[in-house]
Structure formats: C-alpha cells, structure tokens
C-alpha cells in the first residue's frame, strides 16, 4: 500500500495508483442448487458477513435475471451487486433490440464466464462464485472463470458439506417438495457446521415454462440436542478451552 501525501497546492497532489482486488470484505457463504423433476432450484442463506461478524442478516444473495433465469452468489457482495447491474443492463438490451430474442440461463452463464475470466486475466477479479439456473440448466462460474454444469452444484463450504448429501440423496425425478426438503437439509447442515452461515434462508426456483421466483426468507428449524454436539474433551466441562 503506498502512502498518501496531502498538500494545499493542487499541483503537488498525489493519488494512490489504481489497485486491484486483494481480498473480499463483505461476503456471502455457500449457494446450493439442484435440478428436479419440474425445473431447477437454488438455495442460500441471507447472511453477509463482515469478516467474522454476522453483520447483514437480510442480504439477498439469490436474484432473478430477466424472466427465466436465477443466479446465486457467494463471495464479495458488492461484486455481486455490480454483476447484477451488468446483467440487468444486458436484459434491457434484449428488450431494446426488440427482435424476440431473450437471453436464457445458458447464454447468461457463458456471458458471465467471459466477464469473470477477463477480470481474472487482468488480475482484478470479481470475487464471487456463482450458480446460474434456468430451464433445464444448472451451471457454475467462479472468480477465475472456471465453469461447469451438473445436476447439482454447491459453492464454498457447500462443496464440502452439501455435495456428499446431494450425491447420496439426489434423483432425477425429485418432486418439488422433495427437492425443497433436500436443499433445506443441506443448508441446515451448513448452519450447524459453517461458522459463517445463518439459519435464515431463501429458496428460488425456475419451474419448466414459468418465470423464475425467489421465495421470501424464512427460518430453518435446528436441533442442537443431538449427541454429536456434545463435546467430550477429556471428561472436562466446556469445550476444552479455559
């Protein structure tokens, strides 16, 4: 970090040189998504953390793009807001062209890939891992422009804790209720084990032939009585610390 010097003489003013993203400040944690029998669904909690502080507990990390796509973001929240501005402009371009063409999830996924990879190549990334979902499509783009598509996807801690659950329980013919329950289970486990997670969540879906919808946030039921949460540190009371 270079130093600022201040002088009343404007001709002697100095500014810091332009800098690049080094680390994120306000961050969201996991996003989990899956395909089910009638469409696709995304889920995420409504927390944005300020380091270790649970600062913003009503952050909306899943949003609709146009009518037929939903996107969930983890990582730096301000970069997600910037991405949403860009995508909303892109959606408006479609309207302005007035040629009947509407961007679908697949093309938005590819568009984001191009943007994320370009920023990475300039060593100034948008610090997000994104999940894009739409009719028959579920894709991932991360801060360095990696992409993949799959039947279920998770970012952050979700890739460690939710994916094994999904691998075990996912089927291609899940009903909407089953899909919802499966996502809630994943986010519940994440709340138990991810220090930067919250039990207040949103679920968004794009059902076949319908527009994307994001639910209002709601709280997950949790149960801390389980034996797994009892700590037995050498028979001492407490957690082994002092």
């Amino acid at each position: 970090m270079s130093t600022l010097s201040f002088s009343l003489d404007p001709s002697a003013a100095q500014t810091t040189p332009s800098q690049r993203t080094q680390y994120p400040i306000v961050t969201g944690t996991s996003v989990v998504g899956l395909k089910y029998k009638g469409g696709v669904m995304l889920a995420a909690d409504t927390l944005c953390s300020y380091g270790s502080m649970a600062k913003y507990k009503d952050a909306r990390r899943i949003r609709t793009v146009g009518t037929n796509t939903i996107i969930g973001a983890s990582g730096e929240y301000s970069d997600f807001q910037s991405i949403m501005d860009t995508l909303e402009g892109h959606t408006q371009d479609d309207v302005n062209y007035d040629d009947g063409h509407k961007s679908d999830a697949k093309s938005i996924h590819s568009y984001l890939r191009a943007i994320m990879y370009q920023r990475r190549s300039k060593m100034n990334p948008l610090w997000n891992d994104l999940v894009i979902a739409g009719s028959g499509f579920l894709g991932y783009v991360d801060k360095i422009g990696t992409t993949y598509e799959d039947d279920f996807i998770a970012t952050g801690f979700g890739s460690y804790l939710a994916i094994p659950i999904l691998r075990s329980k996912w089927r291609p013919d899940l009903t909407e209720g089953e899909a919802r329950a499966l996502l809630e289970d994943c986010l519940r486990v994440l709340f138990y084990r991810d220090c930067r997670a919250l039990n207040r969540i949103q679920i968004a879906k794009v059902a076949e032939g319908e527009t994307g919808v994001v639910s209002e946030p709601y709280e997950l039921e949790t149960n801390w009585e389980g034996a797994g949460f009892e700590s037995t540190k050498g028979g001492m009371e407490g957690d082994g610390g002092w």
Binding site: Y97, G100, H101, S103, S107, S110, A114
Partner: protein, 260 residues
C-alpha cells in the same frame, strides 16, 4: 434517372429529395447476376447464378457461409460483399464466444443495416455496392430470409430475388410462395432452381458450373451444393423440361470484371 449536379456526393440531396449516389449504388446491385432466396417453416434455400468473365475463367463465387446457421448470396460488387461477409463472420464468432449460442439473425441484420446506413450519411465513404440475401436458421425463431440494400434498408422475406433479370424469378416465386411453408427441403431446392433458370441470359441454361445452391435449417447446418452435387437436382429439372427458359434479353451483362 437524371444526371445532374446533385449526384456526385452521397451527402447531397437532389431537389426531388433523393440521394442519387445511393440509388446509383442500387443500380450496381441490379447489374449483378441473379440470386434467389426462399423459405419454408424449417429451411431456407438461397441460390445464385455464377458469372464467369470468359470461357477460360472460373465462375465467381456468389454464396458465402457466415456461420453454421447462416449464409449469404451476393449481387453486385464482390469486393464489397467480401468485406461485409468478413464483418458478419466476426460478429457471429464473437457472439458465440461470449454467449455460447448462435448469433440471432435479426440482430445481426439490424446491425448490418446500421452499417450500410452510416455510409450514406458521411462525406468520406461511399455506399456498399452490393445486395445480400441472408439466409439463417435461429433455434428459437426458425428460418429467416433477409434482403439488404445499399440504402441501409433490410427487409425480411418469404421469398425474393435480386440481380439481373431477377424479375423472372420474382414472378415465379410470387406464383408459388404460398405453398412453401410445408414444402420439403429437396422440393424447396427445386423451386429455387426453377426460379433461377428464368434469370439466365439468352440461350444459356442453368448448369452445374454456373448454378449454386445453399441450404440451412432445422437439423441442417449451412451447406453449399455445387457442381456434381448440384447435378442431382439439375437432372430433375431437365426431366421437368424447366431449364433454358431465360428472359432472353441478350446483350451486355454490365461490367463483369468487378461485379458478379
């Protein structure tokens, strides 16, 4: 058409409210050899009569692929057409790279029209002296056929033709276009050839050297049908007895050096 003092600059209006330079550019298109285009609910077929300077030379290429879902047939200044084709190909590739999908054809043609228009409103350039028939198939909206003009107008058509003696083709297409929607691919090609055969000069006939057809559509990437592959269709045409019925205008074909 009046030759007068208002026709040397594209930025000068004539007293009748016309841009004569643009109209002269459109004359250039009319001098090029004929192109036809037609579509059904699943396919677009474009066809062209290839001109050759003399017996020793090759026939000028008239149809160019833009992308796997789009191609053009050209009439007028070939060099201008190649410049436009290069731009169109670039746009299609860029779109595919960024959005992972084929360029929507109407969008490209609107931008193409803007490109044409710009040349009609600036001092230092001249209008493009070429007309294009753009045939494309969009996954979302189906097959499309567009005609571009040096003036910057771009219109969509069910069927149309441009170039020398194209009125014969237009008449044929007007008579038959209402049935095109449900026409099969091969029959659509035959329609194109029948329309084209009316545009041949004098005693000439449509043959595998001077005929050129391209098809694009549902489950059909853009494909050029020429020479021996075209013979299959031309033979059918001969059986029908539909070949060699040119308008018989005879005479000069215009400046065949630059134009095709």
């Amino acid at each position: 058409m009046f030759r007068n003092q208002y026709d040397t600059d594209v930025t000068v209006w004539s007293p009748e409210g016309r841009l004569l330079q643009v109209e002269y550019a459109m004359e250039s298109v009319k001098q090029g050899s004929a192109c036809v285009g037609l579509r059904s609910s699943n396919y677009v077929v474009i066809g062209a009569l290839k001109r050759s300077v003399n017996e020793m030379s090759s026939h000028q290429k008239k149809i160019m692929e833009i992308d796997s879902h789009m191609g053009i047939a050209i009439a007028g200044l070939t060099a201008d057409a190649r410049s436009l084709a290069k731009w169109m190909r670039n746009e299609c590739l860029n779109h595919k790279y960024v959005y992972g999908e084929s360029m929507p054809s109407k969008r490209l043609c609107d931008d193409l029209a803007d490109r044409h228009q710009r040349t009609t409103q600036t001092y230092v350039r001249r209008p493009y002296g070429v007309g294009l028939l753009v045939g494309a198939y969009d996954e979302a909206t189906g097959p499309h056929l567009y005609q571009t003009c040096p003036s910057g107008n771009v219109y969509e058509y069910f069927a149309t033709s441009i170039g020398a003696r194209s009125q014969s083709a237009k008449t044929y297409l007007e008579k038959h276009y209402e049935g095109f929607d449900n026409t099969e691919k091969d029959e659509l090609i035959m329609h194109a050839l029948r329309a084209l055969s009316g545009c041949v000069q004098g005693d000439g006939e449509l043959n595998k050297d001077n005929g050129s057809i391209a098809v694009v559509g549902k489950d059909q990437k853009f494909i050029l049908i020429e020479n021996d592959e075209l013979s299959v269709y031309l033979d059918k045409l001969d059986v029908e007895g539909g070949n060699g019925e040119g308008e018989g205008e005879g005479g000069n074909d215009g400046d065949a050096m630059e134009e095709s």
